[in-house]
């Protein structure tokens, strides 16, 4: 491996670590800044008393200095006891129930949910991951399956109807909210024609694989629309770029069949950067779409985010925020690394 590449990879890795740390800082400070403080969720409970506030403040250690709270959230406060006088900095729950003493975000402990009655945040989030992953993966698959051929077609038939189709649909995607298209399709296909269910992931009581696919079809198609249009535009651009290259002219000049030129010389070179990037895009899809999950009542992480935000469930919100930024940052890092390994022309300087 070339020296500059190694240096680039190390630099990007360090940058990503800093970015993840920054996202934890942002997550923590946003919820600290919130008027009313983290215990505001108590306002929803009519039976609360002033004593509850003092008890919970001590229990969660909210009376400690902000920096100590941040450190405790990030690294856990169970190890504070080894410091001289560190026990004073631990939250109340460490003294009363040592098993609930925090392990910190670094050890994948985001604390316990306020709203879901003390269930660990990681459990709450983990329950939602399969649904989000299923929807994200299938819409990614659909958008690639539809986007690549339509992009190739648009480039090959430049200025004719496939090209116009891609252009007009990209106007459409830019001028209406995509979730609105989903809502309309849901009304027509689900409400009036009864072809698809009106929401959710399964029949009540659960169904088989077919039932799951039945529920998945419309959400996956609708959330694939944006990706489909985006991918076909990228592919069209890459194709047109490659079609103008000298080696394509050479291939044609030496008398290769047009099909061979397109498949062997153009497609291979046009698709390579795209395929490389796909692995990272996949991670981006994992953090889920808040809007689509809300429209289709899909029980994933995006919907959990809305529920948590509405209930002011700060531990869950912070956990989701950190996890989805982490997925995004790692995704971008993977794209960058794979690009630089696959394409020797990429420069490592900014």
């Amino acid at each position: 491996m070339r020296k500059s590449l190694t240096r680039y990879l190390i630099r990007r890795g360090l940058e990503s670590i800093v970015l993840v740390w920054l996202s934890t800082v942002i997550a923590f400070s946003v919820y600290q800044l919130a008027p009313g403080g983290p215990l505001q969720f108590l306002d929803n409970n009519p039976k609360r008393t002033a004593a509850d506030f003092t008890r919970l403040t001590a229990f969660y250690g909210l009376n400690r200095p902000v920096l100590v709270q941040f450190l405790a959230w990030l690294t856990g406060d169970d190890w504070f006891s080894i410091l001289p006088g560190g026990q004073a900095w631990q939250s109340g729950q460490c003294a009363t129930s040592p098993d609930r003493c925090g392990h910190g975000v670094l050890r994948l402990d985001f604390g316990r949910s306020f709203y879901f009655q003390g269930v660990p945040v990681t459990t709450v989030i983990a329950q939602r991951i399969p649904a989000t992953a299923l929807l994200g993966l299938s819409s990614l698959l659909l958008s690639v399956l539809a986007g690549v051929p339509s992009g190739v077609f648009a480039a090959l038939k430049r200025g004719r109807w496939p090209d116009h189709f891609v252009r007009v649909s990209s106007v459409l995607v830019n001028t209406v909210p995509e979730w609105w298209i989903g809502l309309l399709l849901l009304i027509i296909l689900g409400g009036y024609l009864g072809l698809v269910p009106l929401g959710g992931m399964q029949k009540i009581g659960g169904g088989g694989v077919l039932d799951l696919l039945h529920h998945l079809a419309l959400p996956a198609v609708v959330s694939a629309i944006g990706g489909w249009i985006g991918i076909s535009r990228i592919i069209r651009f890459e194709m047109l770029d490659v079609l103008n290259q000298d080696y394509v002219r050479t291939a044609r000049a030496k008398g290769l069949a047009e099909q061979t030129v397109i498949v062997r010389h153009v497609l291979r070179n046009a698709l390579m950067p795209f395929v490389t990037g796909l692995s990272g895009i996949f991670l981006l899809f994992l953090s889920g779409s808040i809007l689509f999950e809300l429209v289709f009542s899909w029980p994933g992480m995006g919907r959990l985010a809305v529920e948590a935000i509405n209930a002011r469930d700060y531990p869950v919100m912070m956990g989701l925020f950190v996890i989805s930024s982490f997925l995004g940052i790692v995704g971008v890092l993977m794209v960058d690394i794979l690009y630089s390994i696959v394409d020797p022309r990429v420069k490592y300087e900014l």
């Binding site: 940058e15 970015l19 920054l22 996202s23 942002i26 946003v30 800044l33 919130a34 008027p35 106007v171 830019n174 001028t175 209406v176 909210p177 979730w179 609105w180 809502l183 309309l184 849901l186 009304i187 689900g190 409400g191 009036y192 024609l193 009864g194 072809l195 009106l198 953090s287 808040i290 809007l291 809300l294 985010a305 809305v306 935000i309 509405n310 002011r312 919100m317 989701l320 925020f321 989805s324 930024s325 995004g328 940052i329 971008v332 900014l350």
Partner: protein, 352 residues
Amino acid sequence: MTEASISTVRPTVKPAGRAKERTYWGAVVAKLARDKIAVAAICGLVFMISITLAAPWLTHNVLGFDPESTDLRHRNAPPTWAATAWPLFQQFSTTCQAGQGGCRWSLWGTILSDAATGVGQCFSAGLGNCHWMGTDDAGRDVFSRGLYGGRISLRIGAYVAGLTMTVGVLMGLISGYYAATIIDDLVNAIIQTLGSIPLLFLLITLSRIFQPGPEGLSFLIGIFGWMGVSRLIRGQIFSIREREYIIASRALGASTWRIMTRHMLPNVASIVIVIGVFNVAGAIIAEASLSYLGVGIGPPLASWGNMMQGSLGNFTDAPWLVLAPGLFIFATTLCIYLIGDGLRDALDPWVR
């Protein structure tokens, strides 16, 4: 040489036809005026803006409804012109459900004729007797709320575009001018940080926590939306910063500020205008999405997004709650988008 020969006025050559002087902006306007789609889009946008500006007058004198007065006896009522056609349509749609033995297409004759007579009656119904787009879940007139909602949505669009363009252009200018210095690195770091966190999530959280009004919401949307603009401007500035005229003016002792504003900014003006126009459309959609999630503009104020929020539970029974605000959004953003498209072509007037 005599005095006369000096004072003799040389016969002026009359120009064959005076060449029309064309400035850059003149050419842009001329090209835009020839673009039929762009002209239609401009007319459409002017129309949307004027009906929303005239909303208080229109709702009071033409429609006869107050957008905030509720009428609990007419909740989720269909458009008045479809009062008889709507139950027929519902009947039709139940026959279309799977396992009902196929659609009864014969109903459509009655549906259409009923709707047509309904529209006729609606025109002559007089003030306050016709809900053109039905009523919402509190019995408020959807059309007048749509007009009022447009005031908020368009205002937010303009504010956000203004903010993103100001911050984005400023950051882009600075980081492009000071490229590869610590200032550039700092701006890039901010952009990279903002680009790697889930912004929609952050936006929802912040607007849920602070519950801002239209101005606050535009500030939130704008402050997280300038990164793309900044990147683009930086690239442009970077490519012109070593041009001869920049070096020349620096050699003449022009200040940094002067070089930036007089020599660099005009060179990126066309790009700034085009992205600014597209940003308005993007901001309108962003506001609609946030308000739809219930964290943007809150009731009793109407916005195109929060009008749809009321439809969450009953969208199949009252599809006009989804359709009407969506069409308002679509009409506006389509016009804006097409204007942006036309401008993009027109601002490169020498390319034909």
